[in-house]
């Protein structure tokens, strides 16, 4: 009786923890393998503990080149996509204009299109236009598929923002620019940061579209893909683990800061005012 009651109250949490375990399992394996000295090049089994992989992550130098290139591409694509997407989000939320539904479709479609289709069609464009493929074609492609996600994320934050706050600021002698600078921007910023993080992770991790538009340039996912056929150097797991830890620290730090600032979590979009008693 007691047990079933206890279970009834907590089964959701238990299921959730099991699912989290499922999500974490491969990461644990990756982390474990990053300390492995594989018995052979094609072996994925744990053989012997070693710190070598962590001491010399760049033992295979083309892998590190690929990582650096991925970070560079991710950075440029994120900046461009975040700027373009944020501007669009402001236009959509704050202005009335003709052709709004057309724009909405244009933003929605890339998210509803399989990456494969985007990759192949973009390849066709670059080939027919005679554009040599490489770093910049990858950036172009990444910006293209990141913009929609940025728009959607920033838009949600912006739409959840109380317009009356801006009115209050103007009532308190803040000009349009000051209102934007002191009220709008700080309140939308978490949304923009979340969008940028999302864009970076999408870009850094993209394989399918990149694979079609990279020419001879090799990004980290492409390196992994290629290596998967020949045998993966254990350093790949070092990079995977390191990325995970960095992400953990980053998100952890920002949510810590966010908690101190009593703002909603970075990932959740608009800070909804907690329900307080309303005036009667």
């Amino acid at each position: 009786m007691r047990v079933s009651r206890w279970l009834a109250d907590r089964w959701v949490m238990i299921v959730a923890l099991l699912v989290l375990g499922y999500l974490a399992l491969p990461i644990l394996v990756v982390a474990g393998l990053s300390f492995n000295r594989p018995s052979s090049r094609l072996s994925y089994d744990f053989n012997e503990f070693t710190l070598d992989n962590w001491r010399q992550p760049c033992a295979t130098s083309d892998m590190c080149d690929a990582v650096v290139r991925s970070v560079q591409i991710g950075f440029v694509a994120t900046v461009v996509a975040t700027v373009l997407g944020t501007l669009m989000a402001f236009a959509l939320v704050r202005h009335r204009f003709r052709g709004r539904s057309g724009i909405n479709v244009l933003i929605f479609l890339p998210m509803a299109t399989p990456e494969l289709v985007m990759g192949t069609s973009l390849l066709a464009l670059f080939v027919s236009a005679g554009v040599p493929q490489g770093f910049w074609t990858i950036v172009i492609a990444h910006v293209m598929f990141c913009v929609s996600f940025v728009v959607v994320t920033v838009k949600a934050r912006l739409a959840g923002m109380d317009r009356r706050l801006e009115e209050a600021a103007m009532d308190l002698y803040a000009s349009e620019w000051q209102t934007f600078r002191r009220i709008t921007l700080p309140l939308v910023l978490p949304g923009i940061v979340a969008a940028a993080l999302l864009a970076f992770s999408l870009s850094f991790d993209d394989f399918i579209i990149t694979n079609f538009n990279a020419g001879t340039t090799v990004t980290f996912p492409m390196y992994v893909w290629g290596a998967a056929q020949r045998g993966i150097p254990p350093q790949v797991n070092v990079i995977g683990t390191a990325m995970f830890v960095i992400a953990l620290l980053l998100v952890g730090l920002s949510s810590l800061r966010g908690r101190r600032a009593r703002r909603a979590n970075l990932l959740t979009g608009p800070a909804q005012p907690r329900p307080t008693r309303r005036p009667s």
Binding site: L165, A169, M170, A174, P186, P279
Partner: protein, 383 residues
């Protein structure tokens, strides 16, 4: 900035606001004297907030003017107006501390040394020591007081208050009312105060305006509005009235004669808004006196007879319902002043009044008696 501007009355001239085809504020004209305390009353949705927003510059009028002194400010941007608002929804900046919220207006005007002023303001609204918190960490009433402090600190020429005390408990509300009134007289700011609390409006305001469907129904000193309402709406919005449908049959001497429900009444001409045609004869419940029989009615008074259908004891008074021969129920409030002359439910009784306490209003021909309590609370009960 606010203080150097030459002061003046706030005048609204033919101010109109339409949202699509819906007219929220309809050709509003009124003058609010400099330094006066002006209260705006009216049912929910009648256009009070919209009016304030046009004064603040947050809503562009469809037509009409907002004049401060001789200056038309209707088209100035909000931050160019010496007007501040305490918002109905507070609108506190969630990412700024209470201190920074209060200091916001001063800083925008380039004032550096804000600490003392902010501290003074916070203690005025009894929030000393809350400066480092954020709005989400305050209760509803505390947030409201921050909103008040944030506007007041700017010492604007006109302060607009949109139900600023609605979320406060009764004791704190009374305290804040006194505080507000004190500040208002001290600094001579014009206050435009929207409230649902009639008692608040009556006790604080120099002038009360009752709004209905985008128009001002009546405007004047609280006592004038109460004692001699201009329309049936005002008569029943501000307190409660017994309105008997009748016909005015002309003035003779200083009185207007009225026939209603087969009886003849008279009302002093000075308390009549019309002297012919369909009218409402109005008497406030507390002006009616209940006695057992018509013999007890003093000379010069007028009366109706009925059956007491209900009596409820509410402490300071007893409220009776008197069902007349023609089926209307009049409200009668009898002060519990110790005289035991109480009337039993079910018994016949006579309600009489001094004609000088009655008032006469024009009536739509189709309108009948308005006697059943429209507001089932007496004056002063907050909404």
């Amino acid at each position: 900035m606010a203080r150097e501007t030459p002061a003046g009355d706030l005048r609204l001239a033919n101010l109109t606001k339409r949202f699509g085809i819906f007219t929220a504020v309809d050709d509003l004209s009124l003058t609010i004297g400099q330094g006066s305390f002006f209260a705006l009353l009216g049912a929910s949705g009648c256009g009070k907030t919209t009016t304030l927003r046009m004064i603040a510059g947050l809503e562009e009028p469809t037509s009409g003017q907002v004049l401060l002194g001789d200056r038309d400010i209707a088209r100035l941007r909000p931050y160019k107006r010496p007007v501040n608002t305490v918002f109905q929804s507070y609108a506190l900046f969630p990412h700024l501390t209470i201190f920074e919220n209060v200091a916001f207006g001063l800083r925008r005007r380039g004032i550096r040394a804000v600490d003392d002023e902010v501290a003074r303001m916070l203690s005025l609204v009894q929030l000393d020591g809350y400066g480092n918190r954020r709005p989400a960490q305050l209760s509803g009433g505390q947030q409201q007081r921050v909103a008040l402090a944030r506007a007041l600190i700017n010492r604007p020429q006109v302060l607009l208050l949109d139900e600023p005390l609605g979320a406060l408990d009764l004791k704190l509300r009374r305290q804040m009312q006194i505080e507000l009134k004190r500040i208002q007289t001290e600094v001579g700011i014009t206050f435009v105060h929207v409230t649902h609390d009639q008692e608040e409006a009556m006790t604080m305001a120099d002038t009360v305006a009752v709004m209905n469907a985008g128009r001002i129904e009546q405007l004047g000193a609280p006592a004038d509005l109460y004692e001699f309402p201009a329309t049936a709406f005002v008569a029943n919005f501000l307190g409660q009235s017994n309105l008997l449908a009748g016909e005015a049959v002309g003035a003779s001497g200083g009185d207007v004669a009225v026939t209603a429900h087969g009886a003849r009444f008279s009302v002093p001409a000075g308390r009549s808004r019309t002297d012919h045609g369909p009218v409402h004869l109005g008497v406030r419940p507390e002006k009616l006196i209940l006695v057992g029989s018509a013999d007890q009615v003093p000379a010069g008074h007028q009366h109706v007879t009925g059956v007491v259908s209900d009596a409820s004891y509410v402490g300071v008074s007893t409220q009776y319902l008197l069902r007349t021969d023609w089926g209307s129920e009049l409200s009668v409030f009898a002060a519990n002043s110790g005289t035991p002359a109480r009337v039993a439910v079910g018994g016949t009784a006579v309600a009489y009044w001094d004609p000088r306490h009655a008032f006469l209003l024009p009536r739509d021909a189709a309108d009948t008696d308005r006697t059943s309590p429209v507001l089932d609370e007496p004056v002063g009960a907050s909404s």
